[in-house]
């Protein structure tokens, strides 16, 4: 019997969901665990619930704004760091050191600085996302094959021509890779900040549902967030793949 | 087929990849038959995809034929025969995480040589190929030619009667190939092993072989067998002789059309 892997995978998922459903109904304490059927019901209700949807929307907005800021600042800074030898030698090591700092340690500080509303989430998402973009841009500039540069120069290309016609096209795949990595980090930053403390965003509800022991609703809202994450990640991944088709 | 006279007997062997009726089915080898005498060096030569490496794998028991039979010393081949057959591959199949000496010893461990004997045999094999000083080096530290010599040492350490070599010198430059070819001929003269050698190089085939089996383009059949009547060890003089030149030209004529055919060129 020749089953395709996709079908088998579906089978595995269905089997796990069934085990979850039956297992929790038989052995689970409803205070801590919820079967998927209840989660689905809670999810359905949630979609019609105004305040919760608003909170999800706020979170999505935070994600997008943080991402835009990270790209808007990270892209030019990354380019400068990559192209300018002095900047790269002096400041890039500092960037790398900052990148290595575990940002969870400064979360309370960021909240103190920006408050408990969306600005702090945007700030924390920004600090997470800006680094991958800068790092990939610098790597992208380095990655241009020297033989291509030599070839262009031998044909008499000026520095500007080389930049626009050789380096920049090479940077595009790196840029999209950086965007994909930045999105992953952005999600992490914004979600961490939301889960820590939130008034208008989704973190408010996760804390509410946790403290009032409502696992079905908690799981439902987590599913919504997971769906948002998957969609955003997938968008970035598709964009990257589309733009990198010629890449070696 | 209880004929123990020949080291290797191949009878009507065919090999196809893919199920019957599948348009993507590839018939690599069609009805190949040959006999290899003990102590003979047989070269298999032909265009790419003609099934010569496939035949080698079938002889070595790494594959079972779709049709036909392979026998080693009269006994039918059903799987690898590490005590009778040793392999030397084209890409260096030396384990990079072990030293050269350990690589040779590991081969013996797989074959089942008692632990106490391994070290001595390994060092002897390395001396035979001239790598005694590099016993404690890692493969990454060796040149291409040295890596292949190390592989040969591993195969020799197994002390088998039969050696199967699949384009072992293909990745090396021509100069190294010449030197290693001379060494191989000398080894053959000394040890009397039966060697089956796959190659693309016309000169290499004539220089090394007692007989050359010429393959057609896919599906591969043995077009003809050419005898090189010349004793081992082959000398430098043979390399520059008229005889070698003539045989090489003969091979060229036989192969030229087959190679063109493989490239899809149907010009006359």
């Amino acid at each position: 019997m020749r089953t395709s892997p996709g079908v088998a995978r579906l089978g595995v998922i269905i089997a796990l969901v069934l085990v979850w459903e039956v297992g929790v109904r038989l052995f689970g304490d409803p205070l801590f665990l919820s079967p998927p059927s209840h989660v689905a019901a809670a999810l359905w209700q949630m979609l019609g619930n105004g305040p919760v949807m608003y909170a999800l929307g706020t979170t999505l907005l935070e994600l997008v704004v943080a991402f835009a800021l990270a790209v808007g600042i990270g892209l030019p800074v990354g380019l400068v760091l990559g192209l300018q030898r002095f900047a790269r030698g002096s400041f890039y090591p500092i960037v790398l050191m900052l990148y290595a700092i575990p940002q969870a340690t400064i979360l309370p500080l960021v909240i103190l600085a920006f408050g408990i509303g969306p600005p702090s989430k945007i700030a924390f998402g920004f600090t997470h996302a800006v680094f991958p973009i800068m790092v990939t841009m610098v790597a992208g500039v380095q990655g241009v094959r020297p033989s291509l540069l030599v070839c262009a120069r031998s044909m008499g290309a000026s520095r500007t021509q080389i930049f626009w016609n050789v380096i920049l096209p090479h940077m595009i795949p790196s840029f999209f890779t950086g965007m994909r990595l930045a999105m992953t980090s952005d999600l992490l930053g914004v979600l961490l900040a939301e889960l820590y403390v939130s008034q208008a965003g989704v973190g408010h509800y996760t804390r509410l549902f946790t403290e009032s022991f409502e696992p079905a609703k908690l799981f439902a809202i987590i599913t919504c967030l997971a769906a948002i994450a998957v969609v955003l990640n997938e968008l970035c991944r598709r964009a990257e793949r589309h733009m990198s088709r010629w890449h070696e | 087929m209880r004929n123990g006279k020949f080291a290797v007997t191949v009878e009507g062997v065919s090999q196809a990849f893919g199920p019957e009726g599948d348009p993507r089915r590839v018939v690599a080898l069609e009805s190949a038959s040959l006999e290899v005498a003990r102590g003979e060096l047989l070269c298999l030569i032909g265009p790419s995809g003609c099934g010569k490496s496939t035949l080698l794998n079938l002889i070595g028991g790494l594959m079972t034929p779709s049709a036909g039979e392979v026998a080693i010393e009269g006994e039918r081949v059903r799987g690898p025969l590490p005590k009778k057959i040793a392999y030397v591959f084209q890409e260096s199949a030396l384990f990079p995480w072990r030293t050269v000496l350990d690589n040779v010893k590991l081969g013996m461990a797989f074959q089942g040589v008692p632990r106490g004997e391994r070290d001595e045999r390994a060092r002897a094999a390395l001396t035979t190929v001239g790598l005694a000083d590099f016993a404690d080096h890692y493969p990454a530290q060796l040149s291409g030619g040295m890596k292949q010599r190390a592989q040969l040492a591993r195969a020799l350490g197994l002390q088998t009667d039969i050696l199967l070599m699949d384009e072992p010198f293909a990745a090396l430059d021509e100069q190294t190939r010449m030197v290693l070819g001379e060494d191989l001929s000398e080894l053959l003269a000394r040890t009397g092993k039966t060697i089956i050698f796959v190659t693309h190089s016309l000169v290499e085939a004539v220089f090394l072989a007692d007989r050359v089996a010429v393959f057609t383009a896919r599906p591969g059949r043995i077009k003809t067998m050419i005898s090189v009547e010349e004793g081992h060890p082959r000398s430098r003089a043979f390399m520059t002789s008229d005889k070698l030149g003539r045989l090489r030209n003969q091979l060229y004529e036989l192969l030229h059309d087959e190679i063109r055919k493989t490239m899809g060129d149907t010009r006359p």
């Binding site: 892997p5 088998a8 995978r9 595995v12 030898r85 002095f86 030698g89 002096s90 400041f91 500092i94 290595a100 700092i101 575990p102 969870a104 340690t105 400064i106 979360l107 309370p108 500080l109 909240i111 103190l112 999600l187 992490l188 979600l191 961490l192 889960l195 820590y196 996760t206 549902f209 946790t210 022991f213 696992p215 908690l218 799981f219 987590i222 997971a226 994450a229 | 070595g60 790494l62 690898p80 590490p82 005590k83 057959i85 040793a86 392999y87 591959f89 890409e91 199949a93 384990f95 990079p96 995480w97 072990r98 030293t99 590991l106 461990a109 797989f110 074959q111 089942g112 890692y138 990454a140």
Partner: protein, 252 residues
């Protein structure tokens, strides 16, 4: 040191000096509230006190304990299941995309569920640490064993290697570097996620301590613990890199 290198080093030193100067100026003139940015001297003083008195130990030990347990769970399950999956081409095609797909969901989302289930103690931190570390480990284990160069396996088979010999002498050493990289990534991710989750909801641990000082408006002590956490992070990173490098070297 070459001329260019020297210039870079000097610039970096100047940058650090400038940051310290700005910090000092700002806190002296009160441009930023001292609750947010205490004088650098106070923070350093608190940090030194912290180290001298060893008051950091209770929280550090909790964090390290959570890290070790989480990593052990993730590595044993990840390596074992990863190896078993890699044995069948079909299983790889079924499960590898599944794990890779799950990896793209930020696993920190599961943390509230773990808090609901395990409470505020180390259990929820261990759970999230193990969950997050599991994925790079299993993906790398599958990849490591799946992509063992065919030529090694063929060579070993031709020499008569038994199943056990094949595993110990060929597959394991060949897969090892990739698996090790997965373990390194998993370890670091476990640490970062534990630190983050301690910040969100915990009763003890380094992350929690930072939060508690933020909430009790004791920023100097908060900065002291931030410095400590950063140092611990660098030490763990260095430790993991050294282990990997040393094992790599011996591995040849």
């Amino acid at each position: 040191m070459s001329g260019a290198r020297l210039v870079y080093r000097v610039t970096q030193a100047a940058f650090v000096a400038a940051v310290i100067l700005v910090w000092w100026l700002v806190s002296r003139n009160g441009y930023i509230s001292p609750i947010l940015l205490p004088p650098l001297t106070d923070s350093v003083h608190e940090f030194v006190l912290l180290i001298e008195r060893g008051a950091y130990w209770p929280d550090l030990s909790v964090t390290l304990y959570e890290l070790v347990v989480a990593f052990l769970i993730a590595s044993t399950s990840g390596c074992l299941i990863g190896y078993l999956v890699s044995r069948s081409r079909f299983a790889v095609r079924v499960f590898d995309p599944l794990f890779a797909g799950l990896y793209s969901i930020p696993a920190i989302l599961l943390f509230p569920l773990y808090v609901l289930f395990f409470g505020l103690g180390p259990g929820s931190k261990i759970a999230i640490g193990a969950t997050i570390a599991f994925f790079p480990i299993i993906l790398n284990t599958i990849a490591g064993f799946d992509y063992v160069d065919r030529s090694y396996i063929t060579a070993a088979r031709s020499m008569g290697a038994s199943g056990l010999q094949m595993f110990w002498s060929v597959m394991l050493p060949a897969a090892f570097p990739v698996v090790l990289a997965g373990l390194r990534i998993g370890f670091i991710l476990a640490f970062l996620s534990i630190l983050g989750s301690e910040t969100i909801a915990s009763l003890s641990g380094l992350g929690h301590r930072i939060v508690s000082y933020a909430e009790s408006m004791d920023p100097a002590k908060m900065f002291a613990y931030i410095f400590l956490a950063i140092i611990i992070a660098f030490l763990l990173n260095a430790f993991v890199s050294t282990v990997e490098a040393r094992v790599r070297r011996r591995h040849g």
